[in-house]
């Protein structure tokens, strides 16, 4: 043990000598501020001031990444790049941003090394982390989801990010496009006499031999879009206050009305995320459900992020309307 300690001490001393006294960055000089400052208030009520429209932006949550791409701002840093590429192909990345670590614990070091003009952070991050981010760059804290007004929150976020990046015109276009898409989808459904149809959207995962399902209640983003399309959410399960998601098992599906349409999104890049076309195929409860028997189960394309921005939701509307009216 003592030898180990001595070795450690010697190694340390050697390392210190090697690391001695260089710098990786010159000492700071005071620089003059440019004009054209932007000031705004983020979701938490904090005032954010920017010298000008942010160009180098880092985003910690995927819906923010999607909003940035929609606004034509390619983020320089994104949490879990690989995951984004798997789960959100509706609005793909146009550049190769730096991976800043996990969505739950983005690396402060990596973010700082990108020296961004702006960090768009999710309110799901620990407060302490946001406090630290504020030291790197102005932080726009975004409330990722709010079950009481999901679509409103989505556009509030988009507008905030647009204001900070000087792309309000694009945000307006995005909103108009989304509204047009909703109207178009609503009309298509009405033409097919599908307005007022009950719909249940869910995802699920499999571990070992157990299937867990996540109902998207009317408080979820997808649920809200469904209602805008003139459909009726069939879930009676209670959702959580932020994302509007419930929990249930296969049995819980029997509570759905007989004439319901069932839609889901899985991912071929993640086998455990799709029990509906795998594990449940042979389950007697599943196969005896009226909507399964009537072949009213719709798998929507992979890569539509269920918690994304207007881009994902437009892709969702196209996919859903296409599936229902086919």
């Amino acid at each position: 043990m003592r030898r180990l300690l001595l070795t450690a001490a010697t190694t340390t001393a050697a390392a210190l000598t090697l690391a001695a006294c260089g710098t990786t960055e010159p000492a700071a000089d005071s620089t003059g501020k440019t004009s054209g400052a932007i000031s705004l208030t983020d979701s938490t009520g904090a005032k954010v001031t920017l010298d000008g429209p942010a160009k180098k932006v880092v985003a910690t949550e995927w819906n923010e990444v999607e909003s940035l791409i929609t606004l034509g701002v390619d983020p320089v840093g994104v949490a879990d790049v690989k995951g984004y590429k798997t789960w959100d192909t509706a609005v793909p990345l146009k550049n190769e941003p730096k991976d800043i670590g996990t969505r739950g614990e983005p690396s402060m070091d990596t973010i700082a090394s990108l020296s961004p003009d702006l960090v768009v952070a999710s309110s799901d991050l620990p407060d302490a982390a946001v406090k630290q981010l504020r030291k790197i760059a102005p932080v726009l804290e975004i409330k990722s989801a709010d079950a009481s007004d999901q679509i409103g929150q989505m556009f509030t976020n988009l507008d905030l990010i647009a204001k900070a990046t000087g792309t309000t015109a694009k945000a307006k276009t995005a909103r108009k496009n989304f509204e047009a898409k909703v109207a178009e989808g609503k009309k298509a459904l009405a033409d097919a006499e599908l307005d007022g149809t009950g719909i249940a959207f869910a995802d699920g995962y499999v571990t070992s031999n157990q299937v867990s399902l996540r109902p998207y209640t009317d408080g979820s983003l997808i649920g809200s879009v469904n209602e805008q399309l003139g459909l009726k959410n069939a879930w009676k399960v209670k959702g959580d206050p932020a994302y509007g998601l419930g929990t249930t098992d296969v049995e819980g599906l029997t509570a759905l009305p007989k004439d319901v349409r069932f839609a889901y999104i899985g991912n071929d890049g993640d086998k455990s995320s799709n029990p509906f076309s795998g594990q449940l195929k042979k389950n007697a409860v599943w196969t005896s459900l009226p909507f399964v028997k009537a072949d009213k189960v719709h798998r929507l394309p992979d890569g539509i992020w269920m918690f994304g921005g207007p881009g994902s939701m437009e892709a969702y509307i196209d996919a859903l309307v296409g599936a229902l009216t086919k």
């Binding site: 006294c21 990786t24 739950g104 983005p106 402060m108 419930g246």
Partner: protein, 690 residues
Amino acid sequence: MAVTEAPPATRPPAAASRTGAAAVTAALVLLVAALAVVDITQGTAAVGPRQVLKALTGQADPGDASVVVASRLPRMTAGVLVGVVLGIAGAVLQAVSRNVLASPDTLAVNAGSYLALGLVGASGVSLPLLASSGVAFAGGLAAAAVVLALSGLGTGTVRLVLAGTALALGLNSVTEGLLLLFPQQTEGLYQWNQGSIGQNGFDGVLQMLPVALTGLVGLLLVARRVDALALGDDAARGLGVPVRATRVTVVVLAALLSAAAVTLAGPIGFVGLCAPALVRPLARRFRGLVRARAVLPVAGLAGAGLVLGSDVALRALVPADTAVAVPTGIVTSLVGAVFLVVTALRLRDTAGAEAPDRLRIPSRAAFVVTVAALVAAVVGVTLAGVLLGDTKLLLGDVANWAQGRAGQTVTFVLDTRVPRVLAALCAGGALALAGTLVQAVTRNPLAEPGVLGVSGGAALGAVVLVTTVPAAGSWGVAGAAFGGAALASAIVFGLSARGGYRQNRLVLVGIGMAAGSTALISLLIVLTDPFNAVKALTWLSGSTYGRTTADVLPVALVLALGLAVAVARRTELDLVSLDEDTPRLLGLRLPRARLGFLVVGVLLAATAVASAGTIGFVGLVAPHAARALVGRRHVRVVPVAVLLGAALVGTADLLGRTVIAPAQLGAGLMTAVIGTPYFLHLLVRSRRAT
């Protein structure tokens, strides 16, 4: 009908009080049957008793019938199967080790299986059920083999439990690391780890049934030899029973049984421990229940009763949709934790004082060299911690930063990195000092805040505050952690104080407390924030992520206070740790001195948890290593232990932050990975000494 499970296949052969044993078995069968009937009427679908009855008589509509056939009956059968299998595995393990605390949990079988399945999950391979049960079996068997090899069979209860729980902690840390690194691939594994008997049809049960039957039949075949082992190794040998071979066979079969249970339902905690213990008093009453062939089925029935009872209670108490999210294993773990504490209190403590560490008294020069080397190591770790990270810095950057002249990036990196480094160092030092104090007061070389449940209580307190008041500040969290730790330690030390902190009792009560608080934390997380397991795991795995200077302040202050107390009262510490009588002879008021040191120890542990989450093993390893290096006098042990603790956690934090950057692992995971082997090494060494 509901009572689909067969009555115990083998009735005990004619014995003196055969009717008594038969009556007990019949009563248990009835109880399990009643629970089973209630269980199939519960669930998320609106299929109550009437619909179930109709379904079973073939009159229900097809939807209801399918719920009963494809969901309720499989769940109930899985509950019975898992309970039976775990109860029997526990009973037979306890019999061959002549140890009332042997079970799949305490032999780390479950943890081994969990890690094996986690590895498969993280690699993205999805295996068919039978293959994953093979993987689980291999993992569980390997873990059990390590534990048994280290603790030795039939050599004292505590050693086995300690080796088992320590290994389980280490293995679980690795698995939790995997969960954090591969959240997508391992989604659901966290929840699954708590154990849930819900099933997707009969497939799983049918595939596991042959495995379970193989194990059961095998065990019944060797039952006579197991009986012989109960007489003692020599007597068994005299009867011509191959002792070693029997033990190995039994352990392999028991691991097979628990692997079947783990694959089917995840680790359902403590059933293997409780079920046989519930049967034991019966065996005293009815002589027919003395022999293994009779006891095993009864223990199995008791296990089935426990699992089904927990499931029924859970579904009766919580609304159906929430009950889906709460794993059955949490309930059995809570029951088991209480049970472990009660057993510990009733256990006759025969273990004498642990053989003291070899009393080598190193020279003063050796002490000075050790301290100097350690100081250099801590300084080195600190500097490395400050310089290394995703962004590598040089000393000049730090110099600029210290003078407030650094550029934006460097300023930021150091502003966030320095508090983390300090949090790790302070938490390490505080835990080491807490361990030193607790070990001195209890004269128990295996006591430490983590093992004793004090850290668990602190984490529970902190998690309760964080989930109810999300905006709580650092002092609030530290206060809540202290509240939890104080409550936990009041219970643990209060219960084991009688008879002067007897070795076994203290550690077993503590382990019970630790298990209970972990189960409660899991329950809290599942109920309040089911989609944020990662956040919770981060907190529990001992992370310095996002720490600010304000978070470091409580632990730094308490560490300073603790050091002052320890140095001022160093002679008292020496005396307290010596034996029961000497301090009294010298006029020291023993209870008051003990209480004082304990309070300081608890404060240290609580603030450490508040600043860096639950970090295990440091409180155990550091004081131990310190005594090995510089002898037993506290004037030497305290500084060396504190420095060692700081260096250990500092290194763990550094590795966790850099090895897989930009993603990161908690310091607690890294210390467990480093600490587990050391702990096991300690156990081996102390075994050789006795």
